[in-house]
Amino acid sequence: MNQPTQISNFTLSILVANRAGALSRITGLFSKRGFNIDTLSVGPMAEDPSLSRLIMTSSGDEVTKNQIIKQLAKLYDVVDVKLI
């Protein structure tokens, strides 16, 4: 009945509104819910300076991975989350 609990590494591409506090809201979410951030890089989007692109690698089982994506998508500052 349990989902596979195997730990895997995965990479997320997160499109974020370029607002004060957006990055700390994202990293805060990870510490609040006990998710891992393995690496993180951020830069403005060339096409649209009101947005930033975060590339993050994280790790966890299938359930955790899905939770991370859903919890991120819920944040007001987050425009899009993709698994890459």
Partner: protein
Amino acid sequence: MSSASDSSGVGAGGNASGSAGDTMILNGAAITIETLIAHGVTDVFGIPGGSVLNLYDELFSRTSQITHRITSHEQGAAHAADGYARATGKVGVAMATSGPGATNLVTGIATAYLDSSPVVFITGNVPTNLMGKDSFQEVDITGITMPITKHGFLVKDINALEETICEAFRIARSGRPGPVLIDIPKDVQIAETEFLGGHPLPDLPRRQPDQSELQAAAELINSSQQPFIYAGGGVVLSDSSDLLCQLAEKLDAPIGLSIMGLTAMSSTHPLYLGMTGMHGLPEATQLNAEADLIIGIGVRFSDRATGNINSYREKAKIIHIDIDDAEIDKNVQADVSLHGDIRDILPLLIELVEERDRRQWLDHATDIREAMRDSILAPSEAQASGLTPYTVINAVRQRTDDSTVIATDVGQHQMWVAQHYAFNQPRTFLTSGGLGAMGFGMGAAIGASIAKTQTRTVLFTGDGSFHMNLNELATAVRYQLPIVVVILNNGVLGMVRQWQTLFYQSRHSETTLDRSTDYVKLAEAFGARGFSVGDAHGLNEVLDQAFSSSEPVLIDCRIDPDSQVFPIIPPGGSFIDMIIA
């Protein structure tokens, strides 16, 4: 919300004054209050201070449109705004000054967050040029409240203020409701800009249910022999009690409610079994455990509701319906999930499911009820010659209407009320379910009474909890609110003591209060009426007086310190570990 999109986004829709050219220039404080008024806000709770002087100055000239109530403590204001929201479904509003005013809100914000209550919190802050310098009464309240708000805004640009407030309201009420904080530095309250009318934004679009998911859910339901509906706060928040009843009736399926779900179904409904979970009634919890299908509607399968999650879902398949996608598969893996608004989903689901008659399955609940009820109620009834929690709750219930709002604090008294008070109308039970914040009740009762144009509200509290926010008795007196405060006074921090009794070999560490508080004098000192009672006869007399009074009344009901809340499933346990007495 970037300032680039400001004026185009909001202004285009419809300026009330219509014609272009007639622009209105207002300062930030006036824009804030006008935008509240444009959102239908008629009541706010709070306490003024240095950083919100401008906001209060604007309130001063708008008392005919918006009424502010001063509480004794900002926590009380936060709980009042929350109680106001819970009782009505409207967005509640609380205000506080920077620094200590803002930090005093924090427990109230967390309470609203964990129970998904739509509240907008407005704080002032030091002027932007003093921010980041540990200036007098400066705290980073958006930072502090980040993990306990749906979102928080620090508005540094006057041109973003109006749109931000509109957006805050939209976030608070859309989807899964929750608290939103707006922090407005003093210079932004003073700065001026064009006011566009403060018009509410449309709700955020809702995800529509997927046909194949609906089919899958209907198939599971139609092939189930023993379905159990476990419904929660989402049903109350989406005002879907009618749909819940329709589904249950078509399926002939029993319903158990989480504590946040209480009032979603009338206690008189034959399919309603009671609260389920740690302190759930035996028939509700047992059928939940024996079901072959659990239909979770607007619930989060919290640890308090499920106990040991593995045994909880051992026998059952699970359908999970929730507006918050992140709740799905968070605590329990659903076999079928329906992500969306209960109001959208249930009508479609009801169409697809087959009508059934489940006499046997329901009779099973009746048998359990008959076998167990007595053993739960009898011992404490017999043991106490004086008042028991049940006699008090029942005596109050005899004097209330179905529409009377009941607030509680946190502890045994809360669970006794949740178990035994017969709620028959949605939004009449206000309790801190998720955070379990002692001190919630007094503020919540005040907020609810004001929301319902000063109608009678009852607070069941404990002697421990009441000491946390009894300062708000002054508020109830000041605004002449007919609140009946019933203290189930056991002289102890009863719930903690009960855990010590059951799980720590009766080592009652620091749970005996031994206080000499004279509640009658205390009530009188605040300008309320106070009574103390220790037996049923006295109780009835006092309640008759209390319920005919239009002022706040405090009733100290002396109960046995050893009364316990049963049943109880030990934390992490499962249904078979239920302790009955």
